[in-house]
Amino acid sequence: MNEYNVLSFLESSAAKYPDRIAFKDKDEEINYSDLLVRCQKIAFVVRKNVQQEPFDKNRPVAVFIDRNIKSLQLFLSVVYSGNFYVPIDPTLPADRIQSMLDTLKPLCCLSATTRKLPVEADSFDSLIEQSEHVDDNYSETLNKIRELVIDTDPVYAIFTSGTTGVPKSVIVSHRSVIDLVHRFAESFPFPDVPVMANQAPFDFDVSVKDIYNSLNLGGTVVIVPKSYFVMPAALLPYLQENNVNVLIWAVSALRIVQNFKLFDACIPESISLVMFSGEIMPVKCLNYLMDHWKNATFVNLYGPTEITCNCSSYIIRERLQDTDNIPIGKSFANTEMFLVDPDTLKRIRTTGEKGEICVKGSCLALGYYRNPEQTDMAFVQDPEVTAYKDLMYRTGDLGYYDEAGNLYYAGRKDHQIKHMGHRIEMGEIETVVNALDEVKMACAVYKESKEMIYLYYSADEACDDIIIRQIRKLLPAYMLPNKFVYMPELPMNAHAKIDRKKLTELD
């Protein structure tokens, strides 16, 4: 099929399997045919409520999310409306939400949560209520919108940490998501009827893989309550009850299974495909999973949000030695990956030599929303191509190739980290702390062996409590430093900059 809109996945599965459950959470479920009609009607209501002009499209719609199928229905409704959705976690500090909305200037806000929101939003329930009264000509309106939309139009935007202290919004097109879904279907052994346990929050692009792969394959997405990852006694029994067979999870979530030895109590036997990404998978954890899910296929996935989830993969064939590194593997079809010298941007083609990982292809995001400076820094012209426009994305990740042509991840060229599955710029934490009157200088450092963020700061006197109280208003909980260390002066290096290396090495 020649799709150019992600909604084709939903429509084709709804035609083939109208009665199959598409989405399910702890409280409710919806089948494909109901999902299709409902999202179209809500889309009509959304456009009508804001009196969007018939030719107008591609406007951001903020969706306040929760761990429920209402969120997913709102996403698809927004796509039907010819606009793009931006998931927002309502538990973030109000000031942070406001700064996101300032960037977006959304067409409207929708809400799938019962939590208190800092702004007005149309609730899912009220949209459903209104959609019961739409005229029969709604589908005609939607068909017209559909004709307007092309595959380089955006589907969603997802916020990620930015060094300047303002979160950046990565905006992704239909074309990129369609490319991703086809690459997944051809590369990995999905079961005939996939049942995917969704772990990733909907404001993380890991969840994009659950949603659209499942719609494409006529599968079911089962949303796992967040609390099951905090108090995990119920986690594996829930997977078993729902006959889950596919896990596309963050490494940090799979580590919970190993850390608490959850297989002692329950081994869900239906699992046949386990894919993970976001951080380096510890071999100890992988072996634990492989020992208990003996017939499952395990896949290491790599890629930042800016290239639409993933661009390379490695299927792990057998148990590994504790000292082995797991490759991030080879690039997907229709995706080009290569290494460059981060300073000269010259290609590195020698096996074993490290360079910055760059990516080209339909997977490239459209950039950062309303942020041309950051966009131009990361999405750059391939210097080897001078005769026409040809963009590559600079990941900021370092890597190297082995003899077999497999790529390995080898750290960052800057101060971005991965902590509990979250991508965090140390610079964002520092910007927020440095803005406080009490603080003279601050440096955030990630101690990998302890998996903790340390904040070193200088001030007239120790003021941990003041800093904590202030930055809680601006940063999400996962970005808050685990340790605060007061120093009369921060160590400086020969270039009169904070000596980060020295701070990293401090105990």
Partner: protein, 74 residues
């Protein structure tokens, strides 16, 4: 109790463990915090918290965690 408070503060300096009573129910502690806290109390108090004990009622407050530890030491 003092040793436990040290551990909790070490995990999350931003949380008011003296007064919070819904650490789990209100989503204040996240999964990574629980991993850290459980590993630390296992070591500090020479106990082995099992999967079945990972329930909200055992972790909603510092007091509840302390009571769980004490019951395991008996």
């Amino acid at each position: 109790m003092e040793e436990l408070m040290e551990i909790l503060k070490g995990a999350r300096p931003d949380v008011d463990f003296e007064n919070e009573e819904a650490l789990i129910d209100d989503g204040i502690l996240v999964s990574f915090d629980i991993i850290y806290i459980v590993n630390a109390i296992n070591e500090a108090f020479d106990i082995e918290v099992s999967v079945s004990q990972l329930k909200p009622e055992n972790f909603n407050s510092a007091k509840a965690i302390w009571e769980m530890i004490q019951s395991m030491q008996e």
